[in-house]
Symmetry: C2
């Protein structure tokens, strides 16, 4: 009985984000206010914020990170939007990708014409070991974590399965991290503004300053292959294969399609939305891709009536570098087992034929988990509108895609946006 | 710009719940399977569960209660519904009332024809003090809890404000608890199957058996007024003014209006839905009612095109007895300051003119917080269909209402159902 079309079109007319990073003095609500203000400023023809009719807030676990549940009405209150309905949506690291889908559905229902979608997470107040434990609650604690897994281990098991199935070398993963640091260095909102070569040179300079032997890395790949520079977290995933622990917020304003040009000179039309669920890794037939992502992508492409070849750029969920490689296959950009080759060949770089994570991705831009899905939309907003500054992709860009995964793929949300 | 009508009608064609109570050997997923099976059995004309297209799961904080976030896909998996989209909705104790609204909106959007709404919570694995701390994360931890409040205290402050404003005596609160225990004694799913008189007589019998002096309580009110029998938790709220710590799950099946009679001989049509948010108590102009509930009720009545006088029965959020009294005013059954009199006069009993919480309410049926909102729908389903057995209300019942509050009123969801 499922339909592939919404009964009413939806468009993005505003998008903003806080800086991503570690902000010890700020709370989630402060970061959300930053994102909200930038979103307001991005609405070309201006906005009376009181016209916003409802809020959907993606958040993984402010419960565990800040001891604060029930965050949606607090966010509404801090941007002056009570008594409007305020709903928190949680699907682990896909929380705000799913919140975006709920906002779209809510407008399509006819109940609202204007909805604010937010994503929030404040992770850095906890010690790193507790962050790892907290993130592990997004896995199945009855099956996955008792087997000894936290998330680096779960994705490492996918990486080893992928290597075994397709013969991918370690270099493929490292190339993804290298690329995303190159991209993130062009993004002033990114948590890491440094290229790997910057980091390498800084390490050399630091050694020289301290009178220690200067490391002899001849290039970034030598640096990344060196266990001392890039220690193993869960083999084959090393430090620069893993996204960081981050604080951040993002805000996206949706309106019904017929109102889009009332607010924006260059709205993005939501032409595709897909979401799927799955069991945990212990009960999955394959580990070399994410079935929920494949299905969510199929749903989104079917709704949009386009193919992977039509996508000008994609922001994908690179929580680990293996995840980006699998994503480029799950989304149909490359055939199964071919994604690692594309990574090595530079095809997913901003200069390649399938630009992936030109924002820097989760790896370099940062991964405040509940904010990451909404954060992806900000980059698509800027790129499709030609407002991405020094990191602007060339040419006329029509379709952009976001891919947001929760857990090890128990949830995936995929969205496609069109600049007409 | 807000509309009061959905673009497409929605009906309930199935509803089921687990028993509410304390179940040390079971996990959330087990309770949800119980609820799902009872829901399936309640569909008059049968159902192929594979026709369900999406799940919305209300849950307050499995994160803190069970160390398990990302519960929606797990629930989908355990009832065999992956890879369908599975979304967790959280608004504290209003989580599944809001999940119900999301399910309704999703069908109205045209994207789905059949949606499963669940509510789940497993609270009793933690020690009581940690449950209290966990529930306190639904308050504003920056403003409310540092002032020394946990939830009994927050609602106690509303009770004292109410007493001061309207001259309500302690008896009014105790009458609500007494009534809800009378109601719950008729509900086999209730956590507490005992009337207060049963409890009183059991205490007398226990004393006699142990050779201790037999208490001289002459009636239930004497028992409830006795500090030894009914100790103060946060004055004026005593033990029997407070809902219990509970485990439980509920499941509600929604379809588009045009499919209702394909599945059910007696569907309930969703004619009203309202949701509102608010700031926390420190920033609220009144404490003698809940503004978000008043607004959500207005939205629901406006959508339904009816008045409070049309409601045959209501399941309201009696997390504390003061909350039920305020609810009967916020919902318009009684004027502000008159609810306490109605409670004393028995007008809200099953034999009164405004039957409230004929299931036993949160007080007696139990309050597995994320499941409570969906659990309310089960009673409306049974009563409007004439299937409530020994607790069936007499006469032809047309409209039933549910009222589900999160926190101290930072969220409220109100729904109205019609049996045509």
């Amino acid at each position: 009985m499922a339909r592939t079309k919404l009964s009413r079109g939806v468009a993005v007319v505003g998008a903003g984000m806080s800086k991503f990073g570690a902000f010890p003095g700020l709370a989630t609500r402060d970061l959300f206010v930053d994102a909200f203000k930038e979103m307001l400023a991005s609405v070309d023809k201006g906005l009376d914020a009181r016209d916003i009719e409802a809020l959907y807030i993606g958040n993984f676990s402010s419960d565990l990170f800040e001891g604060q549940a029930h965050v949606a009405p607090i966010m509404a209150d801090w941007v002056g939007l009570t008594p409007r309905p305020a709903t928190r949506v949680e699907d682990a690291c896909a929380s705000s990708g799913v919140a975006l889908r709920e906002g779209i559905i809510a407008i399509a229902s006819g109940l609202y014409d204007m909805v604010l979608v937010g994503g929030i997470e404040k992770m850095t107040d906890l010690p790193t070991a507790r962050v790892t434990d907290t993130l592990a609650t997004a896995a199945d604690v009855t099956y996955e974590t008792p087997a000894g897994f936290t998330f680096p281990g779960l994705y490492a098991s996918m990486a080893t399965a992928y290597m075994a199935a397709y013969g991918a070398p370690l270099e493929a993963f490292l190339r993804v991290g290298l690329k995303n640091h190159e991209h993130g260095a062009l993004n002033p909102k990114a948590q890491f503004g440094q290229r790997i070569s910057d980091i390498m040179e800084a390490r050399k300079a630091s050694a020289a300053k301290k009178g220690k032997p200067i490391p002899t890395w001849v290039d970034e790949m030598a640096f990344l292959m060196d266990e001392r520079a890039n220690p193993t977290i869960a083999w084959p995933m090393r430090l620069y294969d893993c996204s960081p622990i981050s604080d951040g917020a993002a805000a996206v304003l949706l309106v019904s399609e017929e109102l889009a040009t009332r607010f924006s000179n260059a709205p993005l039309y939501v032409v595709g939305s897909g979401q799927a669920s799955d069991g945990a890794t212990h009960d999955r037939p394959i580990l070399t891709g994410i079935p929920a992502a494949q299905r969510a992508a199929q749903m989104a492409y079917a709704m949009a009536g386009i193919t992977p070849a039509d996508i000008a750029l994609a922001e994908v969920h690179d929580c680990f570098t293996i995840a980006e490689i699998m994503a480029t296959e799950d989304l149909g950009f490359f055939a199964p087992g071919e994604g690692w080759k594309a990574a090595i060949e530079g095809r997913t770089a901003r200069t390649g034929d399938h630009p992936i994570n030109v924002s820097g991705g989760l790896k370099s831009k940062g991964h405040p988990v509940g904010a990451s899905g909404a954060g992806q939309v900000i980059e698509i907003w800027k790129q499709l509108r030609g407002e991405a500054g020094v990191r602007q992709l060339p040419g006329s860009l029509r379709f952009g895609l976001t891919h947001n995964v929760g857990g090890t793929g128990q949830t995936c949300a995929v969205h496609i946006f069109e600049r007409r």
